[in-house]
């Protein structure tokens, strides 16, 4: 905790001329963080995850001086995308390619002019409070109303090698204007061999009738810790399509809140977690049906190898007086070893009558009948396992329309599987 106070003081000193309204947001949030503290095993919503590694490591904020020489090859680039590069927390406009109809403003500039957008009120999530107090990175992306952006916009958030433990608190806003349509890839990557900490918050707003494909890829280095909150607001008749693939870090915690605010708002939320060694991934999803005729379809899958562990906590809340709700939530987990561990807790809270809801969760190992069937056709054990596990993961990518994005993720899953099956 001490290092955070020191870093917070340094941040205030670094930007002495910050607007008072923004200052107030930071101070208030930091107070809130101090009041809450780091989550402990006694907090029901946080009980399966141990944050002491983040608490104990003496991270420091990344400053402009930490911007390295830009590597020739930045990994993770997906073919035929508009790319926005953020390296060690610093946005790189000269490298980036912003299409017409889109405005990208650095977070720092946007915080100053719109502090009210970033204020958090009464959240019980200490990492959200910490991010709001320290937000030092990120961009605000606006897709102008009535604009169709054909090619995906890929934001690459890349952490390079450095000499001491670094942290960043990026804050992103993706605002999709009325009738606009876009495809945004929020992509976290790291290569550092030293411990680092990324604590991101992403706010996504879909105005009336907007359509967004949001792909979130978390492939931080194994030395990293990544905590994240993603908050979606979906207005009437807007359609949100989310695919979240996470394979990196030692410790990952992601809180997703989806608010279907407008009548006829629809969302698909698909997630795939890939863990091995002693990785731990914890995802909490809350979907709020706040209006009539809204639909939400969730599918979260985990594939866990070695001694890794996963947590899935999904809650669908159907608010009072809403009509024609259609909500379903499914969680399926595949354990590849007897030492892997999964905690799953799907929940429904329904305060309305006119509702079609379904939820369920299953955890199991590879079906020996499926394995025998493939092997009886001459396919060896490793290839048969690869086919079955790959087949299990496949439908997570079904709602991605862009072929380049899909093939990047397919390759990623195949490579992960090969490395896990070769180790075994």
């Amino acid at each position: 905790m001490n290092y955070l106070q020191k870093q917070f003081d340094a941040l205030l000193k670094y930007w002495p001329n910050e607007d008072q309204a923004l200052r107030d947001v930071r101070l208030k949030s930091f107070d809130q963080f101090k009041t809450l503290g780091f989550p402990t095993k006694k907090w029901e919503e946080w009980q399966f995850t141990d944050f002491s590694a983040i608490e104990k490591t003496d991270y420091r904020l990344s400053w402009a001086s930490d911007l390295p020489q830009i590597p020739d090859q930045i990994p993770g680039q997906i073919e035929d995308c508009h790319t926005v590069f953020i390296i060690n927390g610093h946005y790189q406009p000269p490298l980036s390619d912003i299409p017409d109809g889109v405005t990208v403003v650095t977070g720092l500039d946007h915080f100053r002019s719109n502090p009210e957008l970033y204020a958090i009120n009464g959240s019980k999530n200490p990492f959200l409070a910490l991010n709001t107090s320290m937000m030092n990175s990120g961009v605000h992306v606006l897709i102008k109303p009535n604009t169709l952006i054909e090619k995906p916009i890929q934001l690459i958030y890349f952490t390079t090698e450095f000499s001491d433990p670094l942290m960043n608190h990026p804050r992103f806003v993706f605002h999709i204007g009325k009738n606009a349509q876009a495809n945004i890839i929020e992509h976290y990557l790291g290569v550092s061999t030293l411990s680092y900490f990324v604590n991101s918050v992403t706010q996504v707003i879909l105005d009336e009738n907007a359509r967004l494909f949001h792909v979130r890829i978390q492939e931080e280095a194994a030395t990293g810790s990544h905590t994240a909150s993603t908050h979606y607001e979906v207005k009437s008749n807007a359609q949100l399509n989310v695919t979240s693939i996470t394979s990196g870090t030692q410790l990952f915690r992601h809180d997703i809140q989806l608010n279907l605010q407008g009548k006829g708002a629809e969302a698909i939320l698909n997630g795939l977690s890939l863990t091995d060694n002693s990785q731990h991934q914890d995802q909490h999803v809350v979907v709020n049906h706040e209006n009539d005729a809204c639909q939400s379809h969730q599918l979260f899958k985990y594939i866990l190898a070695d001694k890794s562990s996963g947590v899935f906590n999904g809650k669908v809340v159907v608010h009072k007086h809403t009509k024609q709700t259609d909500a379903n939530q499914s969680n399926k987990n595949l354990l590849l070893s007897s030492t892997a561990l999964m905690n799953a807790n799907p929940q429904l809270e329904i305060y309305s009558e006119d509702v079609k809801c379904a939820h369920g969760s299953t955890t199991g190992q590879i079906d020996p009948e499926e394995l025998f069937y493939l092997r009886s056709r001459g396919i060896d054990l490793k290839k048969a396992s690869e086919l079955i596990i790959g087949g299990f993961a496949k439908d997570i990518l079904d709602s991605i329309k862009n072929e380049n994005v899909k093939s990047y993720l397919n390759n990623k899953i195949t490579n992960w599987l090969e490395s896990v099956l070769n180790d075994g």
Binding site: Y373, S376, R377, G378, I379, D380, L387
Partner: protein, 246 residues
Amino acid sequence: MLKIKNLYAGIDGKEILKGINLTIQPGELHAIMGRNGSGKSTLANVITGRDNYEVMKGSILFNSIDLLGMSPEDRALSGIFMSFQYPVVIPGVNNTYFLRAALNAKLKHQGMKEINAADFLRLIREKLKLVKMDEKYLNRGVNDGLSGGEKKHNEILQMLTLEPALSILDETDSGLDIDALKIIANGINNFRNNDRSFLAITHYPRLLEYMKPDFIHVLIDGEFVKSGDASLAFELEEKGYSWLEA
């Protein structure tokens, strides 16, 4: 081709097969008939190497190679195929991809060049016609969304594609209507030649009307109680199994 000698085998410590002797020569079709629970499927599972089955005594030689102790995939690569009584559904694994992987495993084992996607598609389209299957099945998951009868067609499609030396047909006729049965029997009959052998397991003589066996063996309580030629099937149809029981 296949030589089973004094085979005792079972599952979970329970002895099911009690001294099976069977020799199948190239080009022969043998049928094993018997009631449910007589050990027919156990024999098929022991030959193909399914986990959990244990052999207590005896031997199985395939082209003079000892099968016991070999993995299921190595048995398949040496030329053994089983059409499953209950084909397994594997959603998410594309049927075409799976079949090509299986064929390529075989080609690789034989030291031959693997088949590319385009050539494989040409090949599989020809095979589909032989069992009158629709091309739409190619893009589905393995057996995903197929009816019981369609799954059996898919098993025979795999047999025709992989061209095994020994095909074990485990209750391939069950769940088929008469038209489907004719199509499947026809597919199998056209596939028969002087080198390929078959072991058909069934408790109805019906399949054998369309696919003439060289030998029929009656299995009761883990033992062959009677062996004969094709006429034994008709005798069984008339009299049932009870006259053979001790």
